[in-house]
């Protein structure tokens, strides 16, 4: 019975060590658990697949370093799909650090696609403060909202920006968002006001809130939620990356937590039974 009492009071350092091992090892040795693609993620994938080669899309990088582990793999997978299908990306940021996130993602992906040229297949227009006001302004007059790219060069110099005056010539809008301003604002303006299809990626904590917009009116075509959403997208584009590895680690960590929960409950029931018998 003593062992059951010990189950109730496991030193949390033991839990921490096991979590550390459970997260670290799968990052080194991939376990390759089976991953099922959910409907919401597949919808975003199909939205991109149905675009004609040469179509321009807008990706908004509305997150920062703290949520980079969850959202950056989504950005990379989306870029990989776009460049494979010759879809051109116009990138902007509504968060200051979003610019850096975009640059890092592009640097990583462009190494695998040497034919991709900045200014023709991809452009980073930089960060603009203002959230919803900025989106509204872009929808009416894109060029005055972003007169230059992130490096200060006039957008007239770049072939990818030819003819872009508002959202009309964009195939769709994708917002990778960790909070406010972000996905909600894009839905309100780009879809509800201007009728553009909007897809999104967000953190696992925010995903349940944003799921409400995946509805009959298709306010959101689909949603990538957290690291799992990113891993599912990597599976769809057939380029397993950090999210796939991370899912193994996340799975093992969750399993360890569940095991400890079960141990705690076994200890609880065993000692409760003992106390009942005593009394």
């Amino acid at each position: 019975m003593k062992i059951f009492e010990r189950f109730l009071h496991i030193d949390r350092r033991i839990i921490f060590v096991l979590i550390f091992i459970g997260v670290a090892l799968p990052l080194i040795w991939t376990l390759g658990f089976n991953l099922e693609v959910t409907e919401n993620v597949e919808s975003v994938y199909n939205l991109m697949e149905e675009l004609e080669p040469g179509t321009r899309i807008l990706i908004s990088f509305d997150y920062g370093p703290s949520t980079k582990p969850e959202i950056q793999p989504m950005a990379i997978a989306l870029m990989e799909q776009a460049f494979t299908n010759r879809i051109r990306i116009i990138a902007i940021a509504l968060w200051p650090m979003g610019v850096q996130m975009c640059n890092e993602a592009f640097e990583k992906v462009s190494a695998e696609y040497p034919n991709i040229e900045y200014g023709i297949d991809f452009i980073n227009l930089g960060y603009k403060v203002g959230g919803m006001v900025t989106i509204n302004h872009m929808a009416k007059d894109f060029r005055s909202t972003f007169p230059t790219d992130g490096g200060g060069n006039p957008i007239d110099e770049f072939p990818i920006m030819k003819g872009i005056k508002n959202f009309d010539k964009l195939g769709c809008v994708i917002s990778l968002s960790a909070g406010d301003p972000g996905l909600k604002q894009w839905v309100m303006i780009a879809h509800d006001t201007f009728g553009k299809p909007v897809g999104g990626g967000t953190t696992a904590v925010q995903a349940p809130i944003m799921l409400a917009y995946v509805n009959e009116q298709q306010q959101l075509v689909g949603l990538l939620g957290g690291l799992k959403g990113a891993a599912e997208y990597e599976l769809l584009v057939n380029k397993p990356g950090f999210a796939t590895k991370g899912m193994d680690a996340q799975s093992v960590a969750h399993l360890i937590i569940i095991i400890f929960i079960l141990i705690g409950n076994i200890g609880y029931f065993a000692t409760r039974k003992k106390d009942t018998m005593k009394s």
Binding site: R12, S66, K140, D141, K165, N166, F194, G195
Partner: protein, 368 residues
């Protein structure tokens, strides 16, 4: 042969034009402060990209936009003056650049004094405001109002007593948002009551803050509380101090305080984000009694799991009224309950109507 082909094309376009009501209208953009005109059109989807031009004298038209048939609306808000009539032309160009067909409309922009999109909000505001005022007046007239027990708030005195007995301080964390967040103000309201108790019991309280504006307010609140308790000499201005604006820098600082000072009771009352569990777990490890309260739905589960008592959502805002036990303030809590009853009734009615295929309530609430 060419003549026949041209004839066929002309007949096709004529049918296309006749088969659908084509319209182009211009009107003042509703529910704004002027300076905008709403252009709407209904044309066959087969039409190419169209050109919108504008003039103030019906003669010199300048291009303002190129639009597609599917867009259906465009708001012109560039250099529009209220009271001035503007004339618009929607032109359908031919392949060679000449105009195949054009439509005209005119409008004058004006500012509105009432936003009709917010009718439901106004109705709700009036109902809720009236309910709150009614119950406040009822309470003033002496009517007893029942408010359910909130365990977390009843424990405050016990927590202060425990800290005094143990000779340890209390820790109060007012969240990481600024004064423009109502949760921070609600937390600071509770701080006032708590600080008064601390002054009465001759204990110590630490209030690390994340924002400079909150620093000034919290310091003033704690000082006044000590004054009310008749212990102005016991007030230590350095007990309310600023750490950093950065989220994780702040939580690292607070964790350090918890581990070094080992407070007997921790209060986390305000707006929290990802750092909530880090604070609560560190506090649990130090052996303190923990009372938390936040209206962030994503952080409530962490506080519930790690703290002894949690004020969920509106309990945080009700805390000040609950602690003061003033009839005026308790009356406002009853008024809020009326608001909740209205929402529940609306939800039930809406669900039943939707089940029978009647959509007017949903459409009304969606557009107003």
């Amino acid at each position: 042969m060419r003549v026949y082909i041209l004839l066929v094309i002309l007949i096709f376009f004529s049918f296309a034009l006749c088969a659908q009501d084509i319209s182009f209208t211009a009107s003042d953009n509703p529910n704004d402060d002027g300076g905008a005109i709403l252009l709407e059109w209904n044309v066959p989807p087969s039409f190419p990209e169209m050109i919108i031009t504008r003039s103030i004298d019906k003669e010199n038209y300048i291009e303002i936009a190129r639009v597609t048939p599917l867009l259906k609306t465009y708001i012109d808000d560039e250099n529009i003056e209220d009271g001035q009539e503007y004339f618009y032309m929607l032109s359908v160009p031919k392949m060679n650049g000449e105009t195949l067909q054009s439509f005209s409309a005119s409008a004058i922009a004006r500012a509105q004094w009432f936003n009709t999109d917010k009718i439901s909000l106004l109705i709700m505001t009036i109902l809720l405001g009236s309910a709150i005022l009614y119950f406040i007046l009822s309470a003033r007239r002496g009517k007893r109002l029942y408010i359910r027990k909130i365990s977390g708030l009843d424990t405050i005195e016990e927590a202060v007593g425990r800290a005094t007995e143990m000779g340890k301080p209390l820790l109060f964390v007012p969240g990481i948002s600024d004064l423009d967040d109502m949760q921070t103000i609600a937390g600071l309201n509770i701080l006032g009551h708590l600080a008064e108790k601390v002054a009465q019991y001759d204990s110590t309280i630490y209030v690390p803050v994340c924002r400079s504006m909150v620093l000034s307010t919290a310091k003033e609140i704690v000082k006044e509380s000590y004054l009310r308790a008749g212990r102005p000499d016991a007030f230590n201005p350095d007990s309310v101090f600023y750490l950093t604006d950065d989220q994780f820098g702040y939580v690292a600082g607070v964790d350090g305080i918890i581990l070094r000072e080992k407070p007997a009771a921790n209060f986390y009352l305000g707006a929290f984000y990802a750092e909530s569990l880090i604070l609560a777990e560190t506090g649990f490890e130090s052996g303190a009694i923990q009372i938390a309260g936040t209206a962030m739905p994503t952080q409530i589960p962490f506080f519930v799991a790690a703290c002894d008592y949690t004020l969920i959502g509106e309990e945080l805002f009700a805390a000040s009224a609950y602690l003061s036990n003033e009839p005026n303030q308790l009356g406002s809590l009853k008024g809020q309950d009326v608001g909740k009853a209205i929402i529940i009734l609306t939800l039930l009615v809406g669900v039943v109507l939707e089940m029978f295929g009647i959509h007017f309530l949903k459409d009304f609430l969606a557009t107003h």
